[in-house]
C-alpha cells in the first residue's frame, strides 16, 4: 500500500455528486428553472467557474473528452487551469477541438462550430437570476417565476428603447425557455442566443456562488425576448476577422498600439486556427507558412 492517497475520481465526493446529479435531472425536467443546490467550496475562487466545474465533475467519466473555453479562447488562464484540473483529478483526455469534445465547459461563449447530438455544453454562470437587477429579493423573484410574471423584464427592455432607440442589452440577454421560464443565458453575447434555440446539444448551467443549476435539453425552444416593432437582433460586425477572414462570427477587439490602431479577430480561437490552417487569410493575418517562420 505505497500508493499516496488521492482525491476521489473527479475531485468531488460521491454524496456531493449525487446531490448535484439530482439537481441536474430536475433541471432537465423543468427547462429554464433554477434548481437550488448545495454548492461546495472548490479549489478556486468564486467567479472562476466553481459552478461549471462542479457540474462538469458530476457528469464527467473516463471516456469523456473535455474542452474548456473562456470567452471563446482555449488558451486563457481560466481555461488552461480547468483543463489541467480535470486531467489531474479525472485523468480525462482534453482537447481544443470543438467537434471532438464530448463535454465543453464554457465561460460566456458558444463555439462557432455547430454542436452535435451527444455533446454537453456546461456554462459557468455568475448571476443565474435574470430578474435580480430588477428585483433584489429572492422571495419576490421566486414568486415572479412561479406566477410567470415577467412584465418587469419587458419594461426593462422598453426602457432601453426609450433611452437609446433600440434594445441596448448586448450580453446576458434574457430568453424564454419552452414558452415558460425566463432565463439568463449567462453573460454570453446576445450573438450566441440563437445558437441555444433547438440546439442538438444538452446545455447545463452551474452557478457556484449563487448555488443554482439549470438546464436546456436538446431541441428545446429558446426565444430571446423582444417586441413586435423592435425584434431581437444580434450584433453585426463591419469587417471580417482580421486573421482568418471569417464573417458571421463573433469578433473581439484587439488594441494594437496607442495611436488608435485596432483589429477585430475571432473570439473562438479554435475556429480561427482551423480556418487559418485551411488556408483562409484575413487582412492582417499571414499565411500559415509565414506564421511558422515567425515562430
Amino acid at each position: 500500500m505505497s500508493d499516496i492517497a488521492t482525491y476521489n475520481f473527479a475531485y468531488l465526493d460521491e454524496q456531493t455528486k449525487r446531490m448535484i446529479r439530482r439537481a441536474i435531472l430536475k433541471g432537465i425536467a423543468i427547462p429554464g428553472y433554477q434548481v437550488p443546490f448545495a454548492s461546495r467550496e472548490m479549489p478556486m475562487p468564486y467567479g472562476w467557474g466553481t459552478g461549471g466545474v462542479q457540474v462538469t465533475a458530476s457528469i464527467i467519466g473516463p471516456d469523456d473528452v473535455l474542452k474548456v473555453i473562456d470567452q471563446g479562447a482555449d488558451d486563457t488562464t481560466n481555461a488552461v487551469s480547468i483543463r489541467a484540473f480535470f486531467r489531474k483529478v479525472a485523468d480525462v483526455e482534453t482537447t481544443t477541438d470543438t467537434a471532438r469534445a464530448t463535454i465543453i465547459q464554457t465561460r460566456h461563449r458558444i463555439p462557432e462550430h455547430p454542436l452535435s447530438e451527444g455533446q454537453t455544453l456546461v456554462y459557468q454562470v455568475p448571476i443565474p437570476e435574470p430578474l435580480r437587477f430588477l428585483e433584489p429579493r429572492e422571495t419576490e423573484t421566486r414568486k415572479m417565476h412561479a406566477l410567470e410574471e415577467y412584465g418587469l423584464m419587458h419594461v426593462k427592455l422598453y426602457e432601453d428603447i426609450a433611452r437609446n432607440g433600440h434594445i441596448a442589452t448586448t450580453y446576458a440577454y434574457p430568453v424564454k425557455v419552452e414558452g415558460r421560464y425566463v432565463m439568463d443565458p449567462s453573460p454570453t453575447p446576445k450573438f450566441d442566443n440563437p445558437k441555444m434555440h433547438m440546439s442538438a446539444a444538452l446545455q447545463l448551467f452551474g452557478a457556484g456562488r449563487e448555488q443554482r443549476i439549470y438546464a436546456i435539453p436538446p431541441h428545446t425552444s429558446v426565444v430571446s425576448l423582444d417586441f413586435e416593432d423592435h425584434p431581437f437582433e444580434v450584433q453585426r460586425f463591419e469587417k471580417p476577422c482580421a486573421l482568418c477572414g471569417a464573417e458571421q462570427v463573433y469578433l473581439d477587439e484587439v488594441i494594437l498600439d496607442d495611436r488608435g490602431g485596432r483589429m477585430f479577430v475571432c473570439s473562438d480561437t479554435d475556429f480561427c486556427e482551423k480556418r487559418r490552417e485551411a488556408g483562409h487569410v484575413g487582412e492582417l493575418g499571414m499565411a500559415v507558412d509565414g506564421l511558422e517562420a515567425v515562430r
Binding site: E14, M19, L25, P217
Partner: protein, 205 residues
C-alpha cells in the same frame, strides 16, 4: 434473530462506486434529456429480488440519506430489499407518498395514482417525487408517441407495465407543469425516462 445473522443485504453493491455511479448517471442524464431514447445499463448492482439490478443501480446512483424513499407493497414486504437499500443507499424509507423524493415500484401496474406523490410547489417545482418504475420491457408494450423538449420531431417508446390509465394520468401530470413527477423506467438491461415536459399520445391499438 434471523434478520441479524443473514449477510444477504450487504452484498451486491457497486464494485467501483465512483465509476459505476457515473456510468449509470450518464445514461440517466441522456435519457432524461432525450425522452424516448433507450440507454443500456450493465448489471452493476446485484440486489435481492424483487428489486431489479437496473432499478437498484439507479437507486444507488441517486438516493442517499437526504432522499426519503417510498417502496411499493411488493418491495416493502421484503426484509432483504429493505435491508439491502438500508445498507447500500442509507435512504430513509417513508410510508407517506407525498414525502418521498424517490419511489421504487416493482409493480407499476398496481401503483397508486401519480397525483399522490409530491408534485413540488409552484415556487419550488423541483421538490417533487421521481418515480423509478421497474418495467419488463421498453420496446414490446403498447406504443407511446412522445413530443416535447429533448425530442427533435417525435419519438416512440413501448414500455410495459405502466400505471393504470397512464395516458390520462400523464395528461394531468403535464397540465400541472412546472409541477409534476418525473419517471425513470428501469427495464432489465436498459433505462428510459419521461420527464414532466413530455407530451404522450397513445396510438389506437
Amino acid at each position: 434473530m434471523n434478520g441479524f445473522l443473514t449477510t444477504t443485504p450487504i452484498e451486491g453493491g457497486f464494485q467501483n462506486p465512483p465509476l459505476a455511479a457515473q456510468a449509470v448517471f450518464r445514461a440517466l442524464m441522456d435519457a432524461m434529456a432525450r425522452p424516448g431514447t433507450v440507454h443500456p445499463v450493465a448489471a452493476l448492482a446485484l440486489p435481492p429480488a424483487p428489486l431489479t439490478s437496473t432499478a437498484a443501480s439507479v437507486a444507488l446512483t441517486l438516493c442517499d440519506h437526504d432522499t426519503p424513499l417510498w417502496l411499493d407493497a411488493r418491495l416493502d414486504v421484503s426484509t432483504d430489499v429493505r435491508g439491502w437499500l438500508g445498507f447500500h443507499c442509507g435512504a430513509p424509507l417513508t410510508t407517506i407518498p407525498a414525502d418521498a423524493h424517490f419511489v421504487l415500484a416493482s409493480s407499476p401496474g398496481e401503483l397508486m395514482a401519480l397525483e399522490n406523490f409530491a408534485q413540488g410547489s409552484q415556487e419550488y417545482p423541483d421538490r417533487s417525487t421521481t418515480l423509478i418504475l421497474q418495467v419488463d420491457t421498453l420496446t414490446k408494450g403498447r406504443e407511446l408517441h412522445l413530443e416535447g423538449p429533448g425530442i427533435e420531431t417525435s419519438a416512440a417508446l413501448s414500455p410495459f407495465p405502466l400505471p393504470r390509465h397512464f395516458a390520462a394520468q400523464w395528461k394531468q401530470n403535464r397540465a400541472r407543469f412546472p409541477r409534476g413527477v418525473d419517471l425513470i423506467l428501469a427495464a432489465p438491461d436498459a433505462i428510459s425516462c419521461l420527464p414532466r415536459t413530455t407530451r404522450i399520445f397513445e396510438t389506437e391499438a
